[in-house]
Amino acid sequence: MGKIYIENKAYEVNNGQNLLHACLSLGLDLPYFCWHPAMHSVGACRQCAVKQFKDESDTKGRIVMACMTPAASGARISIDDPEAKAFRANVIEWMMCSHPHDCPVCDEGGECHLQDMTLMTGHVSRSYRFRKRTYRNQYLGPFLNHEMNRCIQCYRCVRFYRDYAGGTDLNVFSSHDNVYFGRHEDGVLENEFSGNLAEVCPTGVFTDKTFKRHFTRKWDLQSAPSVCVHCGVGCNTIPGERYNELRRISNRYNGEVNRYFLCDRGRYGYEFVNGHRRLREPRQRGDGDDKRLTAKEAVIAAARLISSGKGAAGIGSPRASLEANFALRSLVGPDNFYMGVSGRDLRAITLASENLLNGPARSPSLREIEGSDAVLLIGEDVTNTAPVLALALRQAARNGPVTEASKLRIPFWDDGAVRTATQGMKGSFYLLAPYATKLDDIAKERYCASPDGMARLGFAIAHEIDKALPGVDDLPEDERELAGRIADGLMKAERPVVVAGMSLGSEPIINAAARVAWALCKAGKEAGLHYSFPECNSLGAAMLERKSLDEAFIAAGKGKHEIAIILENDLSRRLGPGYLEAIKSFRQIIVLDSIVTPASTAAGLLLPSASFAQSDGTLVNSEGRAQRHFKVFTAEAPVMESWRWISDIKKKLGIFGWGTINDITRELAKELPAFERLPDRWVGISGMKIARQTHRASGRTAVTAERTVFEPKPPEDPDAPFLFSMEGFHGQPPSPFIPRFWAPGWNSIQSVNKFQSEVGRALRGGDPGLRLIEPGHSLKEPSSLIIPPAFKRRKGEWLLVPIYHIFGSEEMSVLSPSVATLVPDPYLGLGAREAAIIGVRAGEELSVKVSGAVLRLPVRIISRLPEGLAGLPVLPDLPVLPLPGWCVLSKVKLSAA
């Protein structure tokens, strides 16, 4: 920290930053375009010009770009200087030369940074009288609309897409006033983070195409803070709703989690909420009957069913909130509650959560991962299973090079110079994966092997760090050397992070990751251990319940349960093709879910649940951070939150129910010590309630004007400190309750600057969420810690590993039409050599026999997939199989006829 002078007034600022960052952090308004808090300065747009003075006696000063000037102690600047002001207005005028001024028909209107900055500079009328430049627009896929005429050439899009997110197929073409931002030809943008362009673009060049189909102005969107449900990262989101339709998802800054960006699955997966697969009314089935019920009838039917049989089993879900799970647990009793995942999967997530609790390595937040100086990633294709984690790792890999640049006295925020100085340099990012992934380009070392092979290398690395740990004796020399190099790289770091996950179902990988992290801790490093959990509440589920589906079926087989109540869970995804047979262990099935799933077809009673956007709840992300999502809008009756159905059923059964979700949170906290501190964060907030609608919301009496001109009474919300109204609190609430980012003069998402303690740092009062898992002090080795033997290929058999796809492998997002168009067709993955040995070419079909199923699939060549392995994608059209598993491949014989 140090003093700088603005208009001769002294201010304390962060001297490591530039003047633009300093001014914005002080809450001063200084317009900018090319600068972005996550991508820093390049000095292209020239919008943030200020006047800098040498010292007190300097009256002349000179114009400098604030973003390119260090906020050095003693710096003297003027923002209000007439010359600087005039120049800033000039810059806007230049940008306006060819800008079409089509705000009334532009989707960006009302949340446009260009509009905001134009007003801020005071530019009003344009003297340019010549023809405007025009461009041809491109088809960029289902997510983004392209309107190049609006472009002001700030270069942010390509800087985000290429430099920040590692994309390659968006670029800048041509030169002078004909600069063009697009692809080399029309086509779907390939990068998993392309949707951020809608927020990164300061105007309406890239806009949300799904939003366009049901467009409404930002100020007419009703919103509340929410959490993404499409993977375990737990990105904070702002869903926007109008007229009972979810219109879009935008980013909600959380300094510890997603910060400025979301992945495309998280941004575009939302449409399942409006989709045709939504369950909208209770149904009762039986004896060929399929009856619609009212809510009241459904509750009676459920209560009757539950009391009709012996001990109802409750089957929870890693995609349902803690509260919904706990409500079900409470309805059936702890003994009869099971987590709705296979025994194998539950063992894996439990093992990972225990490693976090028992070992000395802390589970770092995404921000901490971004800040780490060395990363070892074992066996997880995070780009496809936890995309925003992949984005964070990509930034972490740059920390080493940025440090190198600082030795040339290049500040980290001088992005152009840093990239010039560090080109060709790679940070300490070590990648172990079963096949080539999208992070290969940043890896210093990469290694592809079978799950056991990766775990073995992990154990070997741990041994290199701590020779007291058992080594892997039969490791080939080159792999031993690789382990040595990786261990060296990790040991050179101060804050190394080891990342692994459950997507390969491999306990050895989970343990190997822990052992490396613990060895680093023992060596005095502030090492982090991050597990990528598969679903939005997998870790919460594991903390809640240790009994799996396997145990539920065993108990049912023994006659303990006749009825099963399945909460927000498609058991066909857990049990594979055998699920129909398995659930016959129960006489009756009650399903509560927001969507119709294959499993719910077997249900005798179906209760329609509210979606994440229509309910409150707490989810625990992979960091162990509990985060609360709030209702954005109310579900239309008879749809209700799962916990409310359960509460009503309880009441019908004559047991005490709950009034609000907070009652459940409190009870959960009391009963299970792991959740003890939960209520502190979200429960018992008093004072004026926060308006979910903006102060500019329009049409409040027009909505029902064909019936009445009186405004309908807004729905009540006893659960949360929000109102379904434009009335209420409009200031800056505590960070977990920020329903949208807006500040006077700042209508775009850039207004988040105004909500942070310092630009790019924590939200005022601290970032949302509550960490539930902190490392143990004594190291307790997991009992299952065994170094697996080397992978041996089998004759005539291949080890089939799952291959994940950002679009396709997650249950809910594939129900969104835009996402659905990008789901790949089923295939069988083989390495090029393996395919040659079998004698198949890409596109030719093979028959795949695995765990009793026989599939016929075209071959796709998977780069670097090791010999002896084959890959099966996790896709909606393919059965869920317990993978990895051995399979038999055979050529499909063409029938003679």
């Binding site: 001088d414 152009g416 110079a417």
Partner: protein, 424 residues
């Protein structure tokens, strides 16, 4: 007859001096001498000579080199780049050197690379200089054959490789950092300075970019000493200078003359004065991106400081002569069309401001000008200025505009008030 170290040995038939001819004329002797010196001694000799960069900026070559980290701890590899992207309208001096005596450039590059301990060098040549490229390539091959290039040059232990790179034809590639981007295969846009190329240049490594003419001076300084070199000059800047004149003069051409020769001498003695029937109106002393000087300024010495004191820039030293039959508005429109087209598109003022200037000038020239246009042009003259734009391209484009608005105000006003070009 004054000494003409740079051009004195060139063949009169316009063919390039081959290696045998070059060696016979004393070529590569400077290299032998330099290799017996230490890099520091070579740097010192060049500093002492007061050699200033001939690309146009006039920065001291010795000081430029002194910023390069030296010794065993310096980042490697280090690079030397010859800027042969001569694209300033009116300039053709480097072309003359490239085509006439390519070995002189090669020798200058080897010595300069030795002075900064670089192990690799590039000649970045303008695409249109096909003949020059051919001849430089041949000279590089000949130099490799005679062991002036490659490993352990002349048994000195010094190793250097030179490669020729042909640009894709952009004016901005003459800007040294844009040149480096282009050389790396990136978009030719300038880089932020600092860091300067000497510490963070080509592929992020220490790099010196020198103009062709600058490098050609180096062998002569090494061979004959700084004192001899300074004495060649009629001013404080050392050496001779290639001066050129184009436009309606009797003998347009290029002459190697003592640094500090007056405009009058160049124009009247060497270029033979104005063509019959034409009167001198103004000159741009250093190419298209320099301010106009009128006939009253003919006695200004053509060296960096004197031309600057007169309100313009020496630039490339190749003057463009404007006679009284030329419409200044039309001439300016021609210039600004060039600059506007050659803007790289990186920063807003240059990308959007130059086309606006160009269109305004076009409108005025066509008789469609409006009284406010002069104000708009004037505003651009001050807002597209140093420090406000990312690099020097737009300020360079504004130099002729600013001076023309002052010097030829009447012409602009007549175009607007008469709604036609009075020169047609």
């Amino acid at each position: 007859m004054t000494e003409r170290p740079l051009t004195g040995r060139m063949r009169p038939d316009g063919e390039a001096l081959d290696i045998a001819g070059y060696e016979k004329a004393g070529g590569y002797q400077a290299l032998r001498r330099a290799l017996r010196m230490s890099p520091k001694e070579v740097q010192d000799a060049v500093s002492a000579s007061n050699l200033r960069g001939r690309g146009g900026a006039g920065f001291s070559t010795g000081i430029k080199w002194s910023f390069v980290p030296m010794g065993a701890s310096a980042p490697r590899p280090k690079y030397l780049v010859a800027n042969a992207d001569e694209m300033e309208p009116g300039a053709f001096k480097d072309r003359y050197l490239l085509e006439g005596d390519p070995h002189q450039l090669i020798e200058g590059m080897i010595i300069s690379a030795f002075a900064i301990e670089a192990e690799a060098a590039y000649v970045f040549i303008r695409w249109e200089y096909q003949l020059g490229a051919e001849r430089v390539q041949k000279a590089i091959s000949e130099a490799y054959e005679r062991k002036y290039l490659g490993s352990d040059i002349l048994g000195s232990g010094f190793t250097l490789d030179i490669r020729l790179h042909t640009g894709a034809g952009r004016y901005i590639c003459g800007e040294e950092t844009a040149l480096l981007n282009a050389l790396e295969g990136r978009r030719a846009i300038p880089r932020q300075k600092p860091p300067f190329p000497q510490t963070c240049g080509l592929w992020g490594r220490p790099t010196v970019v020198n103009n062709v003419e600058t490098l050609c001076n180096v062998p002569h300084i090494v061979l004959n000493g700084a004192e001899w070199y300074k004495k060649l000059s009629r001013s404080t800047d050392g050496g001779t200078k290639l001066y050129g004149a184009s436009g309606r003069v009797k003998r347009p051409g290029l002459w190697e003359l003592p640094m500090g020769t007056t405009i009058r001498e160049i124009l009247e003695e060497h270029a033979g004065g104005m063509c019959d029937g034409y009167r001198l109106r103004a000159i741009m002393p250093g190419g298209a991106s320099t301010e106009f000087l009128t006939a009253e300024r003919l006695d200004v010495k053509m060296d960096f400081d004197s031309v600057a004191a007169a309100g313009s820039r020496l630039g490339t030293g190749t003057m463009v002569v404007m006679d009284d039959s030329v419409c200044p508005v039309r001439a300016l429109h021609n210039l600004e069309s060039f600059f506007s087209r050659e803007s790289c598109g990186w920063c807003t003022p240059c990308r959007e401001g130059l086309p606006w200037v160009e269109k305004t000038l076009e409108a005025i020239e066509k008789g469609e000008g409006e009284p406010e246009d002069l104000e708009i042009l004037g505003e651009h003259g001050s807002s597209l200025w140093v420090g406000r734009t990312f690099c020097a391209l737009a300020p360079g484009a504004m130099e002729p505009l600013r001076s023309a608005l002052a010097l030829f105000k009447d012409d602009f006003e007549r175009h607007i008030s008469e709604k036609r070009c009075p020169y047609r």
